[in-house]
């Protein structure tokens, strides 16, 4: 798993690559935590290059989503396709995340 962070003014873009699962979710949570502590309020998570996601990966994104939202911001998830998109739809998160 790889996560590339791009900050442009108030916008923060997190591009995630590879599997986001029980093995890798603990690696990405500190990155998400920093987004929250830095009070970034316009966050986009690009998962176009995520090959597989599981409930742990979903949990990490939902945690980010809730904390940013609680601080008055918003998180958009973009680029989902194939298995990740199927999981997001199963969990009714496609509309929550603005897909």
């Amino acid at each position: 798993m790889k996560c590339t962070i791009t900050e442009n003014g108030e916008q923060t873009r997190l591009e995630v690559e590879g599997a986001l699962d029980a093995m890798t979710a603990p690696e990405i949570r500190p990155i998400f935590d920093k987004v929250v502590t830095d009070r970034r309020r316009h966050v986009t998570v690009d998962i176009a290059k995520v090959t597989m996601i599981d409930s742990s990966g979903i949990g990490a994104i939902v945690s980010l989503f809730k904390r940013v939202k609680a601080d008055g911001g918003q998180v958009l998830v973009v680029g989902a396709r194939d298995q990740p998109l199927a999981v997001l739809k199963l969990l009714k998160l496609d509309r929550v995340f603005g897909l």
């Binding site: 599997a19 699962d21 029980a22 093995m23 597989m52 599981d54 409930s55 742990s56 979903i58 949990g59 939902v62 945690s63 989503f65 809730k66 194939d82 298995q83 199927a86 999981v87 199963l90 969990l91 009714k92 998160l93 929550v96």
Partner: protein
Amino acid sequence: MNVLRVSFRVPASLAHRSLAIDLVSTLVEHVASADRAFRNAITTAFGEAFNNVVIHGYKNRTDGMLDVEAELGPDHMTLKLRDDGLHADLASVPTPDLDAVPEGGLGSFMINALVDEVVYESGTPNVLSLTKRTTAAEPSST
């Protein structure tokens, strides 16, 4: 009906999760009528079951093994996962309220939602059986 049975054994650790999922994904190629949605569903359900065995079944253990037996038919796939870890009480797992956008407690829900049949027998070993049928199987099953 030709049915093929294949078994493999992997260490029950998250480091071997992707290997185990890759093996299941490869086996799906031998289910004649399986499409991409079928592959996504069975591999995702298997991955959640794998997580449960590692995180809950073999909690605080690093020596656990997982035996997987796959039954491959032209219109279905059954995966039997056998482990010697703690028993799981799947019936006690509450159904998540998806409208509340929960962060956890999704694994068992996903397993049940993604496959057609889930059977769990606690014992030595514990056996979790997941069966997924293809859409081609549906007309003949009615």
